[in-house]
Symmetry: C2
Subunit: 333 residues, 2 copies
């Protein structure tokens, strides 16, 4: 195995320690079961927004902790859900009397452990609401999921719910806004190859030389089909046809177009794919009003990308544009 690792057993702890040290103006590792909080947590008089999940998808979620987005992130081991006591500790460190919104990607382990934590927190008298993100149109059920998987849309839900909490909205409103974004966002990904697990050194799956995984999950879960390699525009067209047809997105819609690298694809290829996606959408009369291009929710070093479309209205656009200051997304402050 050729990866930057000292000891597989301490991989996620060492990476988290490095992250916290590099961004110590923004975040700190909280006491007790592992979690990361804003350095100034709990922030008085706001709803806390908390998310988490397995490691290996960085910058998700730790890179989104800071003013205007998350108050805390709960990282598990690589591709492994955090435990309920981790979630509980994160919310206790981040939330005040106005409570906390939990943003949970729809994977069975995450759903179960965040639910258990929510029950523990409710018993402690902490007001908690939960939103499940399930934006992946590729498949209905999957290796780790009943229903659809939560993927790229999660980044947008975290940003927009974070902005709502930042302006002072109450828990019910922040939760309703997060749910509305979830209802209007759709994604699908493609892998050109596997990731390599830092604990085992093994690839997450194996593809032939001319084969791609269309509709791949962020843990390397199978998608719709093993397709033959094609041009960038053809691959982007396949992804967008599935995404646009699902909601459906229609002519006249204004959208946020998010082209996300899964980890091992050069930025130039992501921008090339973005260029193709814009042309596809222009042909359908769909207006790209906001854009995000880069590695924001990854699967370690997997070569591949995902495309996410979010239907924008005036409020959603305003909340997207609102100032944010995190390690991985920053503007306006």
């Amino acid at each position: 195995m050729k990866k930057f690792v000292n000891d597989p057993a301490t991989f996620t702890d060492e990476a988290l320690a490095g992250f916290a040290a590099a961004h110590r103006d923004l975040v700190r590792i909280g006491a007790g079961p592992t979690h990361l909080v804003r350095v100034d947590a709990p922030v008085a008089d706001k709803v806390a927004v908390v998310s988490g999940g397995g490691a290996g998808h960085e910058p998700l979620h730790i890179g989104y902790v800071g003013p205007g987005m998350l108050d805390a992130a709960v990282p598990g081991r690589v591709f492994t859900s955090p435990t309920p006591d981790q979630v509980q500790a994160a919310v206790q460190a981040a939330a005040g009397p106005r409570g906390a919104l939990l943003i949970v990607k729809n994977y069975t382990g995450d759903v179960l452990n965040f639910e258990t934590a929510a029950e523990l927190l409710a018993a402690d008298g902490v007001p908690v609401a939960t939103v499940l993100v399930d934006d992946d149109v590729a498949v209905q059920d999957s290796t780790f999921t009943a229903g659809r998987r939560g993927v790229g849309g999660t980044v947008l839900v975290e940003k927009i719910a974070g902005a709502a909490a930042d302006r002072g909205d109450d828990l019910a409103t922040v939760a309703a806004i997060a749910a509305a974004v979830t209802a209007k966002v759709r994604s699908m990904g493609v892998a050109l190859g596997p990731a390599v697990m830092p604990n085992s050194g093994e690839p997450s799956f194996v593809l032939d030389d001319n084969e791609i995984e269309m509709g791949v999950g962020i843990h390397g879960e199978p998608g719709r089909e093993r397709a033959a390699m094609a041009t960038a525009d053809e691959i982007v067209g396949t992804l967008l046809t599935a995404i646009v047809g699902d909601l459906p997105f229609t002519a006249g819609d204004r959208v946020l177009l998010f082209v996300n690298g899964l980890g091992g694809t050069p930025l130039a290829e992501l921008y090339l794919a973005y260029n193709g996606a814009r042309k596809y959408l222009a042909d359908k009369g769909i207006e790209v009003s906001r854009s995000l291009v880069g590695n924001y929710i990854t699967s370690l070093e997997m070569p591949g990308l995902s495309i996410t479309l979010l239907q924008l209205d005036e409020q959603t656009t305003m909340l997207w544009d609102a100032p944010v200051h995190t390690a991985a997304l920053r503007w306006g402050r």
Copy 2:
């Protein structure tokens, strides 16, 4: 070849078109020979800061065009220098009467083509100064270079010179500040594997299963040695021993520590390496005062990283901290 490509002949043009569309609030593609400028270029009453070089290192340089950093970037084909007429067109679009600083990575083709452009511009009456960045301590001469290669330090020179120009410094002062940064910055990289060229589909070099390239260049040029794979802390120690010993950096120094991904290494591994680098420097009494961790100067999807150290003084720190608004680096605006 499994890459997101439509036609190898139009790869860089399509990627650049996508970049310009995604960031059309910040940049535009200029008329004439291919170059990218600030959307508001030429900006009155400031020195223009212009850089460029082969594509394939994104976000360098196009990702650094915007207020507080570059006024223009000149992208060549993948790993190929831009032509003199491209550089000339970029400077003509970006510079006013206060002239332009050209920031050039020390590769033979870049040096020659930027020199030719500088002569053409001088003949046109445009005041021009040039700084060569040659921060790579790995080797003296290399495949594309006489003297040392320009690598990670380039990002820091561009940010700091850009801040000096932004506050209104004259050309001689901006050039002197850029040269002072170049004198105080040192880097070295390591590859765990090759990049894949989008034109040929061929790997940039071949390594055995347990072999790494210690001191690799950003075009896959050979480094100091083909070493055996080791732990993250051992690899970081080898890089930092070479870097620290070269300037040398000594106890009591305050530094900017920049851990840069070469493209195909997961962010978690970069933060893990950063964690090891901090411990190494703490042991030497060197204080990490500023940090940058992520993929900022890449070699397509090469798995690997580079470490850059910059000696900080009060002015350099202030210029680093100054507001910047580009696609890839943004704070304070």
